[in-house]
């Protein structure tokens, strides 16, 4: 590999195929001119990692190119999924209203779910809409912290706030970044079609196969938040946190990579999660035991696409992480 090829490989890491091709083309032109003029062309280009960081901000990355069709040509949610999510929300609020001090709970719930109808009524399908949605999501996260702080204390405010921010603001930020880049005429190749899979399932499969760059930041943050929650309210969150840490260790050490072993492992994992979710109710933890159930529901939701993929893909095609 020549020094220029090495520089380009480092500078284009994680960029989409089209972005990488554009960088290669312009740097090659630059290099040719610099070489003709004499001098050390590679030294003049500088640190390729610094260039890579700068390129990622302005050119479509590989992950953004994969996600782009989901934002530019979104499918409207079906009536069934709208009914199911509305029913789940109603059940959640009903559960809270029975178990907790309702006048202190409802304003927080209202703040958390206030922007939910926007995904149906005002989907982020253009740059302008994405800007509005990102702005609203930021405001909402601040409002949630304020309302939770006011009604339930600073500890709840500071716990709920980051969750709402992570779940709501970051996807909007991503769509904003994609639309801003597409507005300059950048293009992307659609993900190669996977027979029998929806686009969302194909994205998930691609990430399971190739890894998701944000995982290396997100996984430690989530783990840190769980450990923090367990230290803060051990009766409510310690069983669930212990269970998840055990799962992380087991997935990386146990020989679970056959269909039968994987099935047994997943039964054990989800049984343990269910026990950890309802356990706090038995000894009346201080904070609503529903906190642990809420956490379990989040993990179950994040597992939904993996479940669909296991049903649709033959075992021989499962990526390693689908066994978990």
């Amino acid at each position: 590999m020549t020094p220029l090829e090495q520089w380009l490989a480092d500078a284009t890491r994680g960029l989409s195929a089209e972005s990488a091709s554009r960088v290669r083309e312009e740097i090659q032109q630059h290099y040719d001119s610099a070489t003709e003029a004499g001098g050390d062309a590679i030294a003049a280009l500088g640190d390729p990692r610094a260039a890579n960081r700068a390129y990622r901000k302005v050119l479509l990355t590989e992950q953004e190119a994969i996600l782009a069709p989901a934002f530019t040509q979104p499918k409207r949610p079906s009536l069934r999924s709208r009914l199911l999510s509305s029913a789940a929300l109603a059940a959640w609020i009903l559960l809270l209203s029975r178990k907790h001090d309702w006048p202190r709970i409802w304003p927080v719930q209202l703040a958390i779910f206030s922007t939910l109808p926007l995904s149906w009524l005002f989907p982020a399908t253009t740059l302008k809409r994405s800007r509005v949605r990102a702005y609203l999501a930021g405001v909402q996260a601040a409002v949630v912290v304020g309302v939770a702080w006011w009604y339930q204390g600073w500890d709840v405010g500071l716990t709920v706030g980051p969750f709402v921010f992570l779940l709501n603001y970051l996807p909007n930020y991503k769509s904003l970044s994609i639309f801003r880049k597409l507005a300059t005429g950048q293009t992307y190749s659609p993900l190669p079609g996977e027979p029998g899979l929806t686009h969302l399932e194909a994205i998930t499969l691609h990430r399971l196969r190739n890894g998701n760059p944000s995982d290396k930041y997100l996984a430690p943050v989530v783990l840190l938040m769980l450990v923090g929650a367990a230290a803060w309210l051990p009766a409510t969150f310690a069983p669930m946190t212990t269970c998840l840490i055990a799962a992380v260790v087991a997935e990386r050490t146990l020989p679970i990579y056959t269909e039968e072993r994987s099935r047994r492992y997943r039964i054990a994992k989800w049984t343990a999660m269910a026990v950890a979710a309802v356990l706090p109710a038995l000894y009346g933890a201080r904070i609503p035991w529903s906190g642990a159930i809420f956490m379990a529901c989040l993990f179950l939701m994040s597992e939904r696409l993996n479940i669909l993929l296991r049903r649709k893909l033959p075992v021989a095609e499962w990526p390693k992480r689908l066994y978990w």
Partner: protein, 103 residues
């Protein structure tokens, strides 16, 4: 010397009179500053793409010495950004001069 944050304005100034390609823009900035303003050329292109994203420049394919090149030209918005940049830099440089020369 690399005065942080000035590269976009320097690029806009370099293409104010005529469109140009990346290598020529980099050389022109270095020559006009007599080599005082130095920056790593690998960061020039992300800065150009950012200006393009903001609508300050637009790019097109051109030919130079029989070779395909990507040229950049300043837009109306870019001229506004450059005028604002000049004004701000004037203020900053005057303030710095007053402090350093007065010391």
């Amino acid at each position: 010397m690399n005065v942080r944050g000035t590269l976009p304005a320097l690029i806009l100034e370099a293409i104010e009179r005529r469109p140009d390609h990346g290598y020529s823009i980099a050389q022109r900035i270095k020559e006009r500053s007599s080599g005082v303003l130095d920056f790593k050329e690998g960061t020039l292109y992300p800065a150009l793409h950012k200006l393009e994203m903001e609508g300050s420049v637009e790019s097109f394919e051109g030919i130079e010495k029989g070779r395909a090149r990507r040229y950049y030209r300043i837009t109306k918005e870019g001229r506004g950004v450059l005028a604002k940049g000049r004004k701000e830099w004037g203020k900053v440089s005057r303030a710095v001069s007053v402090i350093l020369e007065g010391a």
